[in-house]
């Protein structure tokens, strides 16, 4: 996994609540095994019903075609667990998503890809949103995971909380599989114990026991 220490540059304001992954990364009509994720990103919402480009949609604005940070609302990434809903943002340069809150699976999917997913308390979120709106695409924001700070223009300075485990995982870009396999003896011991205590649960086809 790629390590995350800092994201700096343009912050994209997408201030909607309950944005689902079907919107973020649609699968209908032309889904491919290997797709161009910059095109998948909000594929349906970027165009009007007649097929013309909706210039007023934020991801179509020239200043927001790429960005380092996404700033968004409540319950971001609800719905389907598709991980492409994270990859589409990475494809346009985003490595940090700041929301008022995240859907559980989406947040986990961010973490799995080295994307920092930060849920800010209301007051901090409101300050940041205002600042991002008024910066309107100026590359003046940074999120620093070492210092646990968000910096912006006019002295904007927000300290954020994050669990130490998550922070380390992101900072070091740790490979989860490798980490877990260090505990293989415990996993095996557990399986052995379960095989005697609850044998039916350690066999897919318990009727053959």
């Amino acid at each position: 996994m790629k390590a995350f220490t800092k994201a700096a540059g343009v912050a994209i304001p997408f201030l909607e609540n309950d944005v689902n992954t079907d919107q973020i990364a649609p699968v209908g009509g032309g889904v491919k095994l290997h797709e161009d994720y910059t095109e998948t990103l909000f594929k349906n919402r970027r165009r009007r019903d007649d097929g013309s480009i909706d210039e007023s949609f934020v991801f179509n604005s020239p200043q927001f075609r790429r960005g380092a940070i996404l700033v968004t609302g409540h319950n971001f990434g609800c719905g389907s667990s598709r991980e492409s809903a994270v990859w589409v943002f990475q494809a346009i340069g985003v490595s940090c998503i700041i929301a008022r809150s995240f859907a559980d699976i989406y947040r986990e999917n961010c973490l799995q890809n080295g994307v920092l997913a930060l849920a800010l308390p209301e007051a901090d979120a409101a300050r940041l949103e205002l600042s991002v709106l008024s910066a309107n695409g100026a590359p003046v924001f940074s999120v620093d995971l070492v210092e646990r700070t968000i910096e912006g223009p006019d002295g904007l300075h927000i300290r954020f909380e994050i669990s130490e485990a998550e922070r380390t995982r992101l900072l070091e870009g740790l490979d989860d599989i490798g980490l877990t396999l260090k505990q293989l003896p415990e996993i095996e011991a557990w399986e052995k114990r379960m095989a005697s205590e609850a044998p039916w649960a350690q066999h897919a086809n318990a009727s053959s026991l």
Binding site: Q23, G30, L33, N75, E83, D104, E108, E191, A204, A206
Partner: protein
């Protein structure tokens, strides 16, 4: 892969569901089918392939063969993994990378979720089923009401549901914002599981049963969140918007955004505009273009029976395209054995093959822009069933009633001969 013996592949999202389909019917899905077969073969994983007797939607197949057992844990790279909580199993929907970790290690790394109990009380009204209960809960707790929590559905009304009903209820856990939801296993569960092909048998069954009977919350268990939902006399429910929590009873009216708090208003206005509706409008009477009965939510045998009871002796209204896709090959065979297929076909439904079909619009089936679709699925998001398609989530009875009426009707009146 650490435990190929405990790992299974299902082909459900991408194959076509058209009658007589094969792997080539939906050309877009073919590369996915091939990749799944190849990856599974290389790792020694059993694929429930299209011609397999146990083919179907994974969340339907895993319970019905007895792969899912009370107290077991399941990881599925699909958010509706929570479905199997209906058997008292703990399941986690996950993304691709998280799945990779599960495959390599056979464990999942989690932050322990908080505990939430949804107590469901009361006796449902006529033609209301588990789907209506789930939609009603959604209307009360919202689509992030369960975020960060694992939900236990408890209470007399949850107990009264069949296992199929509980699977339907738990299916919509993710729509409530929770990754996992379950109903504690009880005699209903055990009777349903007994004799399933993969469930333990003989002395092992007795041993398992003794353990499973302990799997219930203590009477004084603590829940971080505890809500009670009264379903006494519950009417059939329907979504009016583009969020599964935007629900009203079928005899109700769409809400008036101007009376909503500011943070809800903009979303409601956008949802109404997308759905081609005004605020304060009766939902009954709206013309319907397409009806879909299927998906991991509502395509088990009792769901098909419920719809067939309405369809018997009636015809799909002119201009309505109606499709049913049984949740699995087994459901399809059983339905055919008792003649349900004839009822659907005589009424004018397309009797399709098992797949996700129109639920996600990823297999070539879907609606057209502006079409109003009554769908027994779980997501009414914008463009989910085709660009510009307007999805109303309902239970099987309401879907069937709409198919024969050509408009949204209160199935209770239709059944009484008043509509």
């Amino acid at each position: 892969m650490r435990r190929p013996d405990l790992t299974f592949s299902a082909l459900d999202h991408t194959p076509a569901s058209k009658p007589g389909r094969d792997e080539f019917t939906n050309p877009e899905g073919k590369p996915f089918i091939d990749a799944m077969r190849q990856g599974s073969r290389e790792n020694g994983v059993r694929v429930f392939d299209l011609n397999d007797a146990e083919h179907g939607i994974s969340h339907v197949v895993a319970p019905e063969i007895g792969m899912v057992l009370p107290g077991a844990t399941h990881a599925v790279p699909d958010s509706h993994a929570c479905t199997v909580g209906g058997l008292g199993a703990l399941a986690f929907g996950c993304g691709t990378t998280e799945l990779e970790h599960v495959l390599a290690t056979q464990v999942i790394a989690l932050i322990k979720p908080k505990r939430m109990r949804v107590n469901i009380v009361g006796k449902l009204g006529a033609h209301a089923s588990a789907k209506d209960v789930a939609l009603n809960i959604l209307s009360q707790i919202g689509s992030s009401g369960g975020r960060g929590h694992a939900i236990e559905f408890a209470g007399e009304a949850a107990r009264a549901l069949s296992v199929e009903g509980r699977l339907t209820l738990c299916n919509l856990t993710i729509e409530m914002g929770s990754r996992s939801g379950l109903v504690a296993p009880d005699d209903t569960t055990f009777q349903w599981l007994a004799g399933r092909p993969w469930a333990p048998g003989g002395a092992m069954w007795e041993r398992a049963l003794t353990h499973w009977r302990t799997l219930r919350s203590d009477d004084d268990a603590f829940f971080d969140k505890d809500v009670t939902v009264n379903c006494e006399g519950l009417a059939p429910q329907i979504t009016w918007g583009t969020d599964p929590a935007q629900v009203i009873p079928v005899d109700g009216r769409t809400p008036d955004p101007s009376s909503m708090p500011a943070d809800k208003r903009a979303l409601a206005e956008r949802a109404l505009a997308y759905m081609g509706l005004a605020g304060g409008e009766h939902i009954e009477g709206l013309p319907v273009h397409r009806v879909f009965i299927g998906s991991c939510t509502n395509a088990r045998l009792p769901d098909l029976r419920e719809a067939a009871a309405i369809l018997r002796g009636r015809k799909v209204a002119e201009g309505v395209v109606a499709l049913v896709s049984p949740g699995s090959g087994k459901v399809k065979r059983e339905a055919e054995a008792i003649g349900l297929d004839s009822i659907f076909k005589d009424a004018g439904f397309i009797w399709g093959e098992s797949a996700c079909s129109m639920c996600a619009g990823a297999n070539g089936d879907g609606g057209q822009s502006g079409e109003r679709i009554l769908s027994t699925t779980n997501r009414n998001f914008e463009n989910r069933q085709g660009r510009g398609a307007r999805t109303h989530l309902v239970g099987p009875a309401l879907a069937a009633a709409a198919a024969v009426s050509g408009r949204i009707v209160d199935v209770r009146k239709l059944a009484d001969g008043q509509a």
